[in-house]
Symmetry: C2
Subunit: 156 residues, 2 copies
């Protein structure tokens, strides 16, 4: 099977779907993903072109136990929130979130223009993660889906 | 240990070192890498900011057996060579090279300005690869180094 080689990722359809339970599902509505790596046949890591509309947020603040994450700012200005506080991220800046570093992070768009991020994460099995600001944890399932739990272990 | 979160990858030092044997070592001299993911503490995949000077080439044309590769053009115009021929890659375009797809690829800079690529590859152990245009194969070693062989199996 010949997979496409060499394309404009902006030509792909985008989706604001999320597996978050409410109320975080609704809060994710201004974040749109284009699944660039999937389109190109990559399996070992995912590559998303993530567009955050004004007032939107990339995700709930989170960290991964086993998976690395990389974010590169392509367009617009985002505010990155980590345990260290806020940092303005301009085009050409990037951030690395190594697996197991319990430094929850996400990106906000407080401007009036779209933010465009290139987001890479590997697919190491058995990943889990935590959301420091809300009562939620996540566990990657063997089928690739995510299950969400309260911090007392009860499922959403 | 606190790793840096949020930085300008252009602030990192760059190197044109390569593990290629001659004569391909010399031909790699116009390709400069900044090891962005390593700097940020990532281990599951590598992220390089790769600068190709005018007249330079990203690598010898190659494919990977077990590792996925992703390339995003940040600046300049590169000519991508694959089994399908040449393709002009402008800023904002990307290419995916899934593990095991025996479609050798590399990027040439035929312009008078630098080409800047963001290159991501995972680190699945036991990777190997082949160079369709030259008498060379490569095998990733358990220590993370590369060993190069002629196609009759004799080492370089």
């Amino acid at each position: 099977m010949t997979k496409p080689v060499g394309f404009d990722p902006k030509s792909l359809p985008e989706s604001n779907s999320t597996s978050y339970p409410e109320p975080w599902r609704t809060q994710a509505a201004k974040r749109w993903n284009r699944r660039v790596g999937d389109h190109g046949g990559l399996k070992n890591f995912g590559v998303n072109l993530t567009r955050i509309e004004p007032g939107g947020v990339s995700s709930q603040r989170h960290w991964h136990l086993k998976q690395d994450e990389f974010v590169y700012v392509l367009e617009g200005e985002a505010v990155m929130i980590t345990d260290a506080g806020e940092k303005l991220m301009k085009p050409g800046m990037c951030a690395c979130f190594p697996a197991g570093a319990k430094n929850g992070h996400h990106f906000l768009n407080r401007t009036s223009k779209d933010v465009l991020l290139l987001v890479v994460g590997d697919r190491t099995p058995g990943d889990s993660g935590e959301y420091p600001d809300i009562d939620m944890t996540v566990a990657l399932q063997p089928d690739g889906s995510f299950r969400f739990f309260r911090k007392d272990g009860t499922p959403y």
